[in-house]
């Protein structure tokens, strides 16, 4: 049990401000760049300071541009989904990630390809960041056989076993035990892989969170618990979900390293996630990240969003993760437009492909209830 995992003695705010952290404090920016793992209960300050001037060929800069492009792609993908939903082309429950892209992109960027991801119903961003082809994710939204789950899953059930992306789970908290099991399999097999499980602030109130956190800490499972704290569970604000709203402190009480990160700052997220992944690979058991973020849109396409103040949303939009990173790395408005343009092209091609793709024949309704006989039972 690392001492850094202990809850800090200092009391945390019971009702955390719904205001985003202030932008443009250069001291804070420096802190974020140095980004040592924080002790539970400490907030990581924002890191959107002045853009670092860097030569275009610099691999670090290239990497940052790449993160930016990923976020732009996810944003564009989901904006298109919203349109398609309004047009009645995409149906079911659709939960967009708009505003939270830095979390998925930053955390995923810290993982290796053979690490595993278990996600939620709000997982388009995780899936795309993982590298599941845009075509396959869009086709899934359309319910077509070319979808990454052959269209059976839809928005909430994106899977790609080859890329170790294990869903797309629509039971809040339901992915956590599963992720612990994937981590256990790696531990037992002596593989140095990490399993990352995304879940929301609301999910932490579920019993399955508690049981999984305890089990993972007890067994030193190689598990990254990535809590996307967007301050709401549907319409319920954080302080009506949790007695202790400092979620990193709560997690630390299981005896695991846990810290909070500015989830609007993709570089801070990536840095924190790298540290956590390092700790996990070093055999120090599960780590918990509280990723402080905000969703710019309603909970789902179904939700009229009656419970949040417009002003609060506007305030957070000022810290749009895309704008923040663009500013930091000196990407001009024009360059950003160009990126958006490219993303639009990719997304439109995916839409066209999805539209043209075949639907599963009705006769195949009962496929995939049991593994077909021809499949090798034991890989």
């Amino acid at each position: 049990m690392s001492p850094s995992g202990r809850p800090a003695a200092k009391p945390a705010a019971k009702n955390p401000s719904r205001k985003p952290p202030a932008a443009d404090s250069s001291k804070a920016a420096k802190a974020a760049r140095n980004a040592a793992p924080r002790r539970a209960g400490q907030r990581v300050a924002p890191s959107d300071g002045p853009a670092a001037a860097a030569a275009p060929a610099d691999p670090a800069t290239k990497h940052r541009s790449d993160l930016l492009a990923q976020m732009v792609l996810i944003r564009r993908f989901e904006e298109r989904c919203v349109e398609l939903y309004s047009a009645g082309t995409i149906r079911g429950f659709v939960h967009v990630y708009i505003g939270e892209e830095a979390v998925g992109v930053g955390v995923t960027s810290a993982l290796s390809d053979d690490d595993a991801i278990v996600s939620t119903y709000r997982e388009h961003g995780h899936a795309l960041a993982r590298g599941i082809p845009v075509d396959a994710v869009m086709a899934e939204m359309f319910g077509k056989t070319t979808g990454c789950s052959r269209g059976r899953g839809g928005s909430m059930h994106i899977f790609d076993a080859r890329r170790r992306f294990y869903g797309g789970n629509a039971i809040v908290g339901g992915g956590l035990p599963l992720a612990a099991g994937l981590a256990l399999a790696d531990l037992m097999a002596g593989r140095e892989r990490v399993t990352c499980c995304f879940f929301g602030d609301g999910a932490m109130a579920e019993g399955e969170f508690h049981e999984t956190a305890n089990l993972a800490a007890l067994w030193d499972l190689p598990l990254l618990l990535a809590c996307e704290n967007n301050l709401y569970a549907m319409g319920t604000p954080l302080e009506h979900e949790h007695a202790q709203t400092d979620l990193a402190m709560r997690a630390a009480s299981y005896g695991m390293p846990a810290w909070a990160v500015d989830g609007m700052d993709v570089l801070a997220v990536e840095n924190a996630a790298r540290r956590a992944v390092e700790g996990i690979r070093a055999g120090n058991g599960p780590h918990f990240l509280e990723l402080r973020t905000y969703r710019f849109r309603a909970h789902s396409m179904y939700d009229p969003d009656r419970y949040r103040e417009k002003a609060e949303i506007e305030q957070w939009k000022k810290r749009d993760p895309i704008k923040l990173l663009a500013k930091r790395i000196g990407v001009t408005a024009a360059a950003l437009d160009e990126l958006a343009h490219q993303a639009t092209d990719v997304v439109e091609r995916a839409v066209a492909a999805a539209q043209a793709a075949p639907s599963e024949p009705v006769e195949d309704l009962l496929r995939f209830v049991y593994t077909p006989a021809e499949t090798e039972a034991r890989p």
Binding site: G92, K144, E206, G207, A233, M234, T236, H240, S359, L365
Partner: protein
């Protein structure tokens, strides 16, 4: 137990005006009435407050009754359902909303091992007057984990009563007697019904929770169903009528205890039965009802009882596959034709 609940006078003067409203509004009016009538009644569940409930049923109630009685809970199905059970024992009359039946598994330990069992294992000391509401069923492309119909499991639990309002009237009037019941009552609201609208009848003088309803009379075949499939059965009856087959449509309304008398009487008249249940065919309500028909009317039956059920698969997302997985009017018509032979 049945007689008592039925005999209890309507808690309020029967409504006299007939109005057009949605199923959702009917449920809401029932909640409003119950809250206004009895200080001990309160509503608790995820997002029942400002959000208005995940399907908008409780919209406006927070404003009317305040956060003490319209209680948003954390995502903790076991705890808040269990707390509803405890509060019922403690003298309150809680209405607990579980967003959907799919999540109710997380609270099933509390419902079975506590709510349904406390009375018996305490030797009759602890009645548990809790009402648990939840959305059930498919048909909205919500895919595998949000489309289940598990009413059959609940209907097998001794110690609870299970309701499935399928009409505006039942949505409006079932809650009162459910709250008056001293034992746990679980109410299933089919997700496809919330936007249905219709005319509300005046409150029947002795509105009860014991009997099934004959929604359409007929003499060739009995279509026996409940909840979200009632409309499909009525549609099928229309089609059958055009073919000269007279179908009787039975709405079970109460899934536990089953109203054997109404079912047997209907089959006694028609000698043929089709059971329509959105739940899986195997091990669900449909087999139970078919077996009871055979037990009670074995020599009356002119043909095997037909079952039209949900396919044995987790509901797939695409519309055409979901449609194929759920009972449709055409399937009911085909089954009725087979029965009539």
């Amino acid at each position: 137990m049945t007689a008592k609940v039925d005999a209890s006078p309507a808690p309020h003067p029967p409504a006299t005006s007939t109005a057009t409203l949605t199923y959702r509004e009917a449920l809401r009016e029932a909640l409003r009435e119950a809250m206004a009538a009895d200080e001990r009644v309160f509503l608790m569940g995820e997002d029942v407050g400002k959000y208005g409930g995940s399907f908008g049923v409780s919209l406006g109630l927070l404003e009317q009754f305040g956060p003490r009685r319209i209680r948003d809970t954390p995502l903790s199905e076991a705890a808040f359902v269990g707390a509803g059970i405890g509060a019922a024992i403690g003298g309150m009359r809680p209405i607990v909303e579980i967003m959907t039946v799919n999540f109710s598994l997380l609270a099933l330990d509390q419902i079975l091992n506590n709510a349904a069992t406390l009375l018996h294992m305490s030797g009759g000391q602890l009645s548990v007057p809790v009402v648990i509401r939840m959305t059930t069923g498919g048909g909205r492309q919500l895919a595998a984990q949000h489309s289940r119909s598990l009413e059959g499991w609940y209907a097998s639990i001794p110690g609870i009563r299970v309701l499935a309002p399928a009409t505006i009237d039942d949505a409006r009037y079932m809650l009162g007697p459910a709250l008056a019941d001293p034992d746990p009552v679980v109410i299933f609201e089919h997700g496809s019904l919330y936007n249905e609208s219709g005319t509300l009848s005046p409150r029947p003088p002795a509105f009860g929770l014991s009997s099934a309803a004959v929604r359409r009379t007929g003499h060739d075949v009995s279509l026996i169903t409940y909840g979200g499939s009632l409309g499909k059965a009525l549609d099928a009856a229309d089609t059958l009528a055009a073919e000269g087959v007279s179908a009787e449509v039975i709405d079970l309304r109460v899934l536990r205890p089953l109203d054997d008398a109404t079912i047997a009487a209907s089959v006694g008249r028609t000698h043929r039965a089709v059971i329509i249940d959105e739940g899986w065919r195997t091990g669900g309500l449909s087999g139970e009802i078919a077996t009871r028909i055979a037990e009670q009317a074995f020599y009356e039956l002119d043909a095997p009882v037909e079952r039209v059920c949900g396919a044995e698969v987790a509901i797939p997302y695409p519309r055409h596959l979901e449609d194929a997985a759920l009972p449709q009017a055409a399937d009911i018509v085909a089954a009725a034709r087979r029965a009539v032979g």
